[in-house]
Amino acid sequence: MTWLSKIRKVPFWSWFWFVLGVLYFVLPLYATLDFSLRMERDTISLKAYQSAFSDPEFLKTFLYSIFLAAMTIVVSIALVVPTAYWIRLRLPQARRIVEFITLMPFVVPAIILVFGLIRIYSSPFTIPFTSIVLMQPLTNFKVGTNILIIGGYTVLGLPYMYRSVDTGMRTVDVRTLTEAAQSMGANWGTIITKIILPNVRTALLSGALLTFAIVVGEVVLASFLGIPAFGPYLFLLGQHRAYEPAALAFTTFLLTWAAMGIIQLVTGGQSQAAGAH
């Protein structure tokens, strides 16, 4: 395209959709912010924010949730990428059943999931038909409970992570890439880490962002497993107040957005323009 035609092509429609989108997203946030600033009668003040943040638990639980989110993202990627890749390459027959499984978290209420996890993992692991105890129940110790909740969060994020990765792999021709790499003598490890992962990076980023948001805002799993996460803390604080929940919602939004910006930086950002590889 010549520079002349580029100038002629002011992307009017792109701006149109974008501005429309911005309006739709920003107005409700503005309404929340406006309400949160009105805790004092007839004036704008930050009182609601002061009240909400006077508690050191805010930062502590937020950081803990970020930590859990990071772990969940790692586990998720390690689980989903090889699986999606394998299905694309070698086992299309399994596609339906795997997709079905990844859509299940939508219809299993979180509260059933958490009680199910507790029921199963609260008794010691024994070898069947003997009374030899292999391991104490996961719920009894902290790392065990962390394992449970990371597993639970991975399940919750599965639909989004799988769909992201699957879409990403579809647009990248994994079959040809693999064969090219194999003909150059690469083994599976190299193929996955050096060829596949970098090429689905934007898709992984989408999946990671979605998972992150889910984990940080999640309440049911964390509160029933007794984990000091951000979601239950917010609930404890804001339930019966009027202005603080709005302040908290707005701040959480901003903080999570900032955290996502950082994730974006860490993973190298959007380096792919349309079609460039």
Binding site: D34, V98, L103, V108, P109, P159, M260
Partner: protein, 296 residues
């Protein structure tokens, strides 16, 4: 030897030996440990009475109770409408920031914002919309003072099916943007140039080249949006307080409520949702196989 075996492999049927299933075993183990086993209670419980005996009564109620059938209908309606609307507008947004030529920082901003907004739900989202479009909302106020129009008198009501759809879209649009942006990135510039060289205009390029290529991804995203709306609970509860009977709220009433507490019925309704998701997935798979036919 440098020649690839590509053409031959394309025609050969893939071996179905058990070895091919090794790669998906970790996934299945994980799914069993953390999803299927804990959900067993769902399956077993839907056939159990509160006393613990086997019964088909819960399942029968799914079909006999008017309220439950209506709830499924409404749930499906809301999910389908927001999936479609979310899909279309989300696609336009994704297009705008990728192929559409907007400046890079806007893309980063929208992508990260979408990450957050995709999970903005429940009481905070409901409150945000009430503060915007409720009877005392600021848009309502603006319409009254500057445009002399009371939207509530004109029949708009946030606490309605339409209002709930509008609110659901807040997390449907971002989801579509996030999934479609990488897909739109994958549209090769060369295709557009080739099409232009052959004399196609922009519209023809999109209709005949780009959209068909993207269609499987679009469909896949829409089913994700469908599932997302289908399983949503907190937002609906916060905005309509249970007055709009959708399945998730009915299930919550049975399982969590102070009162009704017939978990078996709740589980049966959840199993109904599983069936509906399976059927939707079947429809989507069929559509996808039609559209993916000529894509490698």
């Amino acid at each position: 030897m440098v020649t690839t075996t590509l053409p031959a492999q394309k025609d050969k049927k893939l071996p179905t030996s058990w070895k091919n299933w090794i790669g998906v075993i970790p996934f299945f183990i994980f799914a069993i440990l953390f999803l299927l086993l804990p959900s067993i209670r769902l399956f077993v419980g839907s056939f159990t009475t509160e006393g613990g005996k086997f019964t088909l009564d819960n399942m029968a109620q799914l079909f006999s109770q008017r309220v439950i059938l209506d709830a499924y209908k409404i749930s499906i309606q809301i999910s389908a409408i927001t999936a479609l609307a979310g899909g279309i507008f989300g696609f336009m947004l994704a297009y705008a920031i990728t192929v559409g030529g907007l400046p890079k920082p806007l893309r980063t901003a929208l992508i990260t914002f979408s990450g957050v907004a995709s999970n903005f739900a429940g009481v905070p989202l409901a409150f945000a919309f009430v503060a915007t479009l409720g009877r005392t909302g600021f848009i309502t106020a603006i319409m009254k003072t500057y445009f002399n129009m009371n939207i509530y008198d004109k029949g708009f009501n946030l606490y309605s099916f339409i209002g709930l759809c509008l609110t659901y879209l807040y997390f449907q649009f971002p989801l579509m943007v996030l999934i479609m942006a990488p897909a739109l990135d994958g549209l090769k510039k060369e295709w557009k140039e080739a099409a232009m060289n052959l004399g196609a205009n922009n519209m023809q390029y999109w209709l005949k080249v780009a959209l068909p290529v993207l269609l499987p991804s679009i469909l896949g995203s829409m089913i994700l949006l469908f599932g997302n709306a289908f399983g949503a609970y907190a937002t609906a509860y916060a905005l309509t307080g249970g007055a709009l009977p959708i399945v998730t709220i009915l299930i919550g009433a049975q399982i969590r409520g102070d009162v009704l507490h017939n978990p078996g019925l709740g589980f049966a309704m959840a199993m109904g949702m599983v069936v509906i998701m399976a059927v939707s997935l079947g429809g989507y798979s069929w559509l996808q196989s039609r559209t993916e036919r000529w894509l490698k």
